[in-house]
Amino acid sequence: MIATLKLAARNLSRYRRRTLLTALLITLGVVAMLLFVAAAGSFKQVMIGQITDSMLGHLQVHRRGYVASVDNLPLNLNMPVPMVAKVEEALKTEPAIAAYSIRMKLGAMFSNYTESTSIRLNGIDPQAEDATTPGLRTRIIEGDKVGVLVAPGQVMIPDLIARGMKVKVGDTVVLVATNRQGSVNGKNFTVSAVLEPATGPGGRDGYIHVSDARELLRMTAPEAMEIAVRLKDPARLANTSASLEAKLGDVKNKEGKSVLEVHTWEALTPFYNIARMIDLMTLFIRVMLVAIVLVSVMNVMLMAVYERIREIGTLAAIGTQPGKILGLYVGEGLLLGLLGAAVGVAISVAAVAVLNVYPLTFPFGRQVITLKPVLALGEIGLVSLLVVGMAVLASLQPAWRASRMDPIVALRHV
């Protein structure tokens, strides 16, 4: 085996320029693939992290029909107190759950005393929200980033409204809301923070204390519109969601129908489709890499066989078994693949290290995204295996041809 590979290496060295060009082509493919996967993966992680850590949580529980009409922020689809209690009971028995936050969601009028605009508000318990969406704090671009997220009488407003209404931290504003019964109520708030906008649902919402939300809506009982859930391990999303759905399926209305819905973040944000598109593009790039390796290695190996027909005849005549001749040419393909993959991985790892020192930043909507690509060992292994496997596969046909060559015909070849 080692002797075969040594001879294969010698044979590759006889056409040095061709070998280097082919290896370079494979290297370029590997680098393109790995850098794309690293950058796209980083983008996905940044976006998913932002969406789940600063807004949605990993899972959300609503009363059935609430999500379908969430744009209107309906007040008639609240979860009443007993229903909230049942959800909390189910959440507490689920070991995969790290934290949850009971939210009130409402639409309100925002006034700075000279002009007004509409605002979507989340009434939150600051401690629970902090534990469920720890990234919310990182979106504070003005105001206290360290203390209590939002205290009674305070409001955190999105940057868009702060700019549009020329409001800054410390200013007093009025929030006016209409409750389920049609009663209008208003309350003064102090702007405690300005939030950076984020992509996805809830990315331009304001935040007030849950007690203020109830007061605005003249709500006597602690009802809820939404319960956001954070998991200890996001990889267990599907299992936990299914388990929770099963547990909450018992909460039924008078008609015996289940009244609660569990949604994963994937179902709640359109970014999930972008993430799937990225996965699809990754697949296309993998297919292109496979094509590059197949075509380049097969081309080189076909030429190698054609140019060395007499040599093949000689080796066969002096007793080399067909299998060994096959091995010799497959070995050349294998070494080409290994060379291209090894150099490609080395360049990619170096490039990713450089990109981590000098990260890429680019605007995404109103945000600036900073990409720090990460190359997972699994991805490196997968791409290397793919390249080497394809190189071997591409060399099989020429190698088979060489091994089946009639020694007499081969020896006569000019």
């Binding site: 002797a3 075969t4 001879l7 010698r10 044979n11 060295s13 006889r14 007499r310 040599e311 005849g313 000689t314 080796l315 066969a316 005549a317 002096i318 007793g319 080399t320 078994q321 067909p322 060994k324 020694p407 007499i408 020896l411």
Partner: protein, 239 residues
């Protein structure tokens, strides 16, 4: 001891729709230790006969025994094994592997065909290199050697596995006259030193004179046999 026994050998090639007979009813014996030549003009069937004896091709009919093995119908793999174990080949164009040094070319059959361990290979190669007078050229690649030196390496490669029989197709055709004779002398000396039987093809009258046994082919038949061949070599004619 008879090393090669051929009985009523025939070989016909198919060229399009036409059958082209290359060998017709060829019978002969060659004894162990012979220095034999298949001679005759181009197209007489020398190379075809050499290919059959070398298990590179199958006869269309007849029986061919080499080293007591019926090689007429060996499979591709069995033929390769037989060649690797028992035969050595010398080619007109030397056919050395260009990326390997003289030493490595000689080492090839031991390493890739026989799978000998390194110490045993080194001992044998050193001996053969010295025997062909190429010990000081061992590290050179074929493109750094003269034609005669290349053929010496080829002889060494053919002999290194201690084969019973070495087949050489026009081994001197690409060499000048003096070098050709030196190669033939070398082959004879190897026969004497190692007891190897040499069978070669040639159409050069000066070279065929060096052979101790000659089988002259004309139009695919043995027209004349000289030396210690079997009486059956030429039907109706005593050897």
């Amino acid at each position: 001891m008879t090393l090669i026994h051929a009985s009523s050998l025939a070989k016909t090639y198919r060229a399009g729709d036409i059958d082209v007979p290359a060998l017709k009813d060829v019978s002969f014996d060659i004894e162990a230790g012979a220095f034999a030549a298949f001679v005759g003009p181009s197209g007489s069937g020398k190379t075809t006969l050499l290919n059959l004896v070398g298990c590179l091709d199958h006869p269309t009919s007849g029986r061919l025994t080499v080293l007591d093995t019926d090689v007429s119908r060996l499979s591709r793999s069995a033929a390769a094994s037989f060649r690797g174990e028992n035969l050595g080949f010398i080619f007109q164009d030397f056919n050395l592997v260009p990326v390997l040094s003289a030493y490595e070319n000689i080492e090839y059959p031991l390493l890739m065909v026989r799978g000998w361990p390194e110490a045993k290979r080194r001992e044998r190669i050193t001996k053969v290199l010295a025997a062909v007078g190429m010990a000081d050229q061992a590290a050179k690649r074929p493109d750094q050697l003269s034609g005669g030196q290349k053929q010496r390496v080829a002889v060494a490669r053919a002999l290194v596995g201690e084969p019973k029989l070495v087949l050489a197709d026009e081994p001197t055709a690409n060499l000048d006259h003096d070098t050709a004779h030196r190669i033939l002398d070398l082959m004879k000396r190897m026969r004497d030193d190692f007891g190897t039987t040499f069978v070669f093809s040639t159409h050069d009258p000066k070279i065929m004179a060096e052979a101790e046994v000659t089988l002259t082919l004309e139009d695919g038949r043995i027209a004349h046999a000289a030396g210690a061949t079997s009486p059956a070599a030429v039907p109706g004619e005593p050897a």
